[in-house]
């Protein structure tokens, strides 16, 4: 292994390094910080599709889609905390609940407009996030994960006991989104937009989609600038990041704050859409679903949590409503059991084949088609993965 620098370089270039060839082929480096020019047309197309989607959906499917976009906001938040900053949290259900009850208190009890109570739900949840974030300074990995499980249980207990705010175990009504008299989301009302009629489900869908888009843009910007970089550095090597000048406390707490803000907004919309919330709604099961969404979608990416949400929040409903699945309860396999068995098995099989989740798959397809990997905005937030045998490990060279 005694080589001149030049030789080394040539040698290295001969090695099949994924992701490098295309850039080098085109000569030079992309130093332009705003890569929006190259921003994926694919995702833009997907967004347009999402906007047009309700035209093809039945009302039942539309309500499922609404739950997906609302859930995806919270999943995106968890993606920041767990996917980018590497702090595994199973506490998302707690922050969803805080958001929902904030909406209830401000929107219903104090009569605030939704323009105010939606962000307020995020802010209050974010404040709780800021309080809880510092635990991540002391606890690592699964210790943190299980402490956040405790947070969910303690949260449910507090929700049950704080009767004046949450209605106690009996639950309470949540306000419907009402911006103005012509833009009122309550059931039975519609919005007429020059020939288009949008009903209750549709309005919630579009509000959810709007907030999801804004959040995704925010998170994407974050992922490619200073804050997001610091989070990923902390995820990879906490101590080294610290020696290089990254403020661990600030980075982790920021991740918690962003994550719980988005969870708060998501919870408020969710509760408002269902119009009713009780403490049992914010259980560990919900947290696990959110974790599932970001894992299935692909950790450490912006689009992963959104794609994962489609699977986790949508798939069971789709399977259950397949035409050949019997809805009858008269003995035999119930549709719900069938759906969750199929769902569980699908998740197992999919992750055995594709452990990097849907984004791993999405990344692979363009590569197969010979496109540049750089066309994906998530390139730099890649989840940890083992490279192919062609890649030289340091140990091999020593």
């Amino acid at each position: 292994m005694v080589t001149e620098l030049g030789t080394t370089t040539v040698e290295t270039r001969r090695q099949p390094l994924p992701g490098t060839r295309s850039t080098h082929g085109s000569g030079g480096v992309r130093a332009d910080p705003s890569r929006r020019g190259r921003a994926p047309l694919g995702w833009g197309g997907a967004w347009v599709l999402a906007v047009l989607l309700p035209f093809w959906l039945s009302e039942g499917q539309l309500s499922t889609a609404t739950f997906i976009v609302i859930g995806a906001i919270g999943a995106l938040g968890l993606g920041v905390l767990t996917g980018f900053a590497g702090q595994v949290s199973l506490g998302q259900a707690f922050f969803l609940g805080v958001g929902a009850y904030t909406a209830a208190v401000l929107g219903a009890d104090h009569g605030w407009n939704a323009v105010l109570w939606i962000p307020a739900a995020g802010v209050v949840a974010a404040m709780f996030g800021a309080l809880i974030g510092p635990t991540a300074l002391r606890l690592r990995g699964l210790y943190l994960a299980i402490v956040t499980i405790g947070l969910v249980y303690i949260g449910q207990n507090v929700f049950t006991n704080a009767t004046s705010l949450t209605g106690g175990p009996e639950g309470r009504a949540l306000p419907t989104v009402h911006f103005a008299n012509w833009l009122d989301f309550s059931a039975g009302n519609t919005l007429n937009l020059g020939g288009l009629t949008i009903d209750h489900n549709g309005l919630y869908y579009y509000l959810g989609l709007l907030l999801l888009s804004l959040s995704a843009l925010f998170v994407w910007n974050l992922s490619r600038t200073r804050t997001g970089r610091a989070m990923q550095a902390v995820r990879e090597r906490e101590l080294a990041a610290s020696v290089l000048g990254v403020n661990l406390a600030r980075t982790k707490v920021t991740a918690f704050v962003i994550s719980s803000f988005l969870a708060g907004v998501s919870g408020a919309l969710y509760g408002s859409f269902i119009s009713f919330a009780q403490p049992g709604d914010w259980s560990l099961t919900i947290s696990i679903q959110y974790l599932a969404a970001i894992i299935v979608g692909g950790m450490g990416t912006v689009m992963g949590p959104i794609l994962g949400s489609i699977v986790v929040f949508g798939l069971p409903d789709v399977i259950q409503n397949l035409s050949f699945v019997s809805q009858n309860g008269g003995g035999g396999l119930s549709a719900t059991d069938f759906a969750s068995i199929v769902y569980g098995v699908l998740i197992i099989v999919f992750l055995v084949v594709q452990p990097e989740g849907l984004m791993g798959l999405a990344r692979r397809i363009p590569r197969r088609l010979g496109c540049s990997e750089g066309s994906m905005p998530e390139q730099r937030g890649d989840p940890p993965r083992r490279m192919t045998a062609a890649t030289t490990k340091p140990e091999d060279q020593q």
Partner: protein, 296 residues
């Protein structure tokens, strides 16, 4: 005072069952770094298989327990070798965690689909019989739980400390790649841990659904109660799992009996978590956990 001793007994017996669940978590965690979210579903399946064999098929109780243990252990091994093994070498540990979540979902629904969601009869020989002594009541099933757990723990200790596989398990736990390099059959060791987890699930399911409880669909959630136990004791420490489990059982039952009303309803539910958080503030890696070495 009678009440206190009675609760102490109930808590200790429950804690022993938690210790089994926590040990199952720990064994898998040690060998692969994964928290097995399907543990609750395995426990549920174990209880229902026993109930089905005794009540519907007329198999003698201990025969049914043995069959259930073999079945669950083999299923665990198959799951590890056929599925998990294919991903375990990849770095995203989350994928493996997620696979156990998927398994839990499918298994829970499978149990529901096969056995229905009604409460069942376990078919154990103890039923509602109890030993009455010193003004206290000791349900036989709870006494046997303590005895069984003691035997299982002793057996585990022997396996862990004095057998070839125990050493292999500990080596795999500390460094999978190094273990592989010195010729330890890591795949076989990890399969063994799943077999152990499956067997422990059956025993835990058995004692959780004994009198006065019964096999019912919410048993799976009880496994979640063992989470604070494994953290309290320290992840990856079998001793910690046992101590943590017993502590959690005692805390839960005593808090149930004595929670003052100013703490609100259902304080006992969160008491284990509050104790756990308290311990972690003082000892971030639990009572018996070891701080992982951090290198630059």
């Amino acid at each position: 005072m009678t009440q206190f001793w009675q609760l102490l007994f109930e808590g200790f017996s429950l804690g022993c069952v938690y210790a089994l669940i926590a040990l199952a978590f720990t064994v898998i965690y040690r060998s692969s770094g994964v928290i097995n979210f399907a543990q609750g579903a395995m426990l549920l399946a174990g209880a229902y298989v026993i109930s089905w064999l005794t009540v519907n098929e007329g198999v003698p109780f201990f025969g049914a327990v043995a069959i259930a243990i073999v079945a669950l252990a083999l299923s665990g091994v198959a799951f590890q070798l056929l599925l998990l093994r294919r991903v375990a070498t990849q770095r995203p540990i989350f994928a493996v965690v997620m696979i156990t979540i998927g398994l839990g979902t499918a298994l829970t629904s499978g149990v529901d689909a096969v056995f229905g969601s009604s409460t069942r009869v376990l078919g154990d020989p103890w039923g509602s019989t109890a030993l009455h002594a010193a003004g206290l009541v000791f349900d036989w099933v709870k006494l046997w739980a303590i005895v069984f757990v003691a035997v299982v723990l002793a057996a585990f200790y022997v396996l862990d400390r004095h057998s070839r596989y125990g050493l292999a398990m500990r080596a795999t736990a500390s460094d999978e790649e190094a273990a592989l390099a010195v010729g330890i059959p890591v795949a076989r060791v990890q399969a063994l841990t799943w077999a152990i987890a499956g067997s422990l699930a059956v025993l835990a399911g058995l004692f959780l659904s004994g009198y006065p409880s019964s096999p019912n669909p919410s048993l799976g959630e009880s496994a979640l109660t063992a989470f604070p136990a494994i953290i309290l004791g320290g992840l990856g420490s079998p001793v910690g799992a046992v101590v943590g489990g017993i502590l959690i059982g005692l805390i839960e039952v005593l808090a149930q009996g004595y929670d003052p009303s100013w703490l609100g309803n259902n304080f006992y539910e969160i008491a284990p978590y509050i104790v756990m958080i308290g311990v972690l503030l003082a000892k971030p890696y639990g009572l018996f956990g070891v701080r992982p070495a951090e290198r630059l």
